[in-house]
Subunit: 311 residues, 2 copies
């Protein structure tokens, strides 16, 4: 099968488009023929070697952890899926990834694809959608009427987080650039802050939940907007426990795992029109280096989808 592998940690030139063996599904696995995948920052963070202490890989590695596709075959212990089913997944990051024509995934990490959107759109959802869910619902316990500050709201995770927070009845304050403010408004944000010309920390107060997808200075400035007992949840830099205590606030750090139950919830929200995936760019698998370059630039709107096979 066609796949993209890396033989060493390094730059985009490590991404090698080549033939690789089709994975052999185990008894509990589903072999999925990949129609589309999408790029997440974790893809190039792994490629650069930033996570090599955490993640014990053997080269060559197939990157990519988002997939929408069609079940090709199932292991003998698998009863919930059959060949031909349209499915999507954020698979185990320690196994071979989704930059490939086929991937073998534990059936417990697979869910039925949302019925009303294309594979391209479905491939944009799993990792970013589970992340938004884990931050807002599991870590922060978002509830009706909460004031939520979402940084980088036009990005892949941010664009879903705004919609999920609105679906849960929250009041959403979103930071983005002026050129994306109309899009973010259309996702349901109640207030938009242009991060290039305005200082959110001087404009926002009494926040219940800060969704931090940027870390660094933005995370530091975010403590002061929180209500007493508010929570800052980061997906990039673990927040300091000392700072949280000094601000009479709580904090959490989220690093997501595969979660088919959340994928099922997300599919229901998509099919009910509560969440629409935002696709900002699309590439062929052979152009994966360009797709990763766009992700690394931080300038992509919504998600970057990579087309792999026909549906």
């Amino acid at each position: 099968m066609k796949a993209v592998r890396i033989y060493a940690y390094g730059g985009q030139d490590q991404l090698t488009v080549e033939d690789a063996p089709v994975p052999q599904p185990g008894d509990n696995d589903v072999l999925v023929r990949v129609v589309a995948t999408s790029v997440n920052p974790v893809d190039w963070k792994i490629r650069e070697g930033y996570l090599k202490e955490m993640l014990p890989y053997h080269f060559p590695i197939i990157l990519g952890w988002d997939v929408s596709g069609v079940v090709e075959s199932v292991g003998k212990a698998v009863t919930q899926f059959k060949p031909g089913d349209a499915v999507y997944s954020r698979p185990d990051i320690l196994r071979a990834g989704t930059y490939a024509e086929y991937i073998s995934i534990d059936a417990n990490e697979v869910a039925f694809k949302p019925a009303t959107i294309s594979h391209s759109s479905a491939a944009s959802l799993p990792l970013a959608g589970i992340t938004a869910w884990d931050v807002l619902i599991k870590a922060a316990g978002i509830k009706n009427g909460d004031r939520v500050l979402i940084h980088a709201a036009s990005g892949g995770v941010g664009s879903l987080a705004v919609q999920l927070a609105k679906a849960r009845g929250a009041y959403v304050i979103a930071t983005t650039s002026a050129k994306n403010s109309a899009l973010v408004k259309s996702l349901g944000a109640d207030e938009i802050i242009d991060y290039r010309t305005q200082s959110f920390e001087k404009m926002v107060t009494d926040v219940d939940i800060v969704f931090d997808s940027l870390g660094g200075e933005i995370q530091q400035k975010s403590w002061q907007v929180l209500k007493p007992n508010g929570i800052l949840v980061s997906i990039v830099n673990p927040p300091s426990v000392e700072q949280a205590a000094a601000h009479n606030a709580r904090s959490a750090f989220v690093f997501i795992k595969p979660d088919a139950a959340v994928l099922k919830e997300l599919a229901t929200l998509v099919d009910a029109g509560k969440i629409r995936p935002i696709i900002g760019a699309e590439f062929a698998l052979s152009d994966i280096a360009k797709a990763q370059a766009l992700s690394e630039s931080g300038r992509a709107v919504g998600k970057i989808v990579v087309h792999v096979g026909n549906p």
Copy 2:
């Protein structure tokens, strides 16, 4: 290039996947590399020969009149597009169609693709979207507060018509089957009628606009639900002028033309979250016969997308 052509009118077995010459763009044309197309009933109506009196073709014919793709080159008189632009179109039905890797289209029939959705989703919009627009806005002059009856609301045209009518402030009564009622509700319909178990003509009155995509008996029964001076607009059977007069109503028949201005309006609505394309099934170009068979069955939900090339 790979293309699907027919050499005679007839069944699905006429659909021949083969090599064909890349079209030569004229001075006012844009050559588009096709990423995705979608199936419309007109495709198989032409294939069957139902429209042969109206449409003077020479065989072989490349079918298909919806496209989302990337500009490959432009004719020397074209200034509004350049190679690399992401575009979508419902091209001239008398030229070679979109079941192919490349299509040459008059630049005046082309618009920029909505920025926030995938090519697969964008390819589902042009023909069905222009149809919904021409019926509701151009033919019926829909206005805020109008009561609109939309038949077959879970279909490719109906699912867009419901959303467009709601975006214009109408009250929408939609017929569909029980299994698709949740979807149609999610599109914004105010009332749902299960056409299998309920008789719409006994339940609905005082309608300003009937959107008829079924013709026949449904069209006949639709006259009686109209308000005085209400309008029945059909996209399948020209309504009888005598019947309209007998019911003190108006009627119109819509057969759409390419319309880049409407495509621009639709792109704005999509990017603003007012319209979401509903994709019910996806096929590879080599499976075009299966895609047309599903369309002919009348059982597809939303649109049937066909993936042609990489983005």
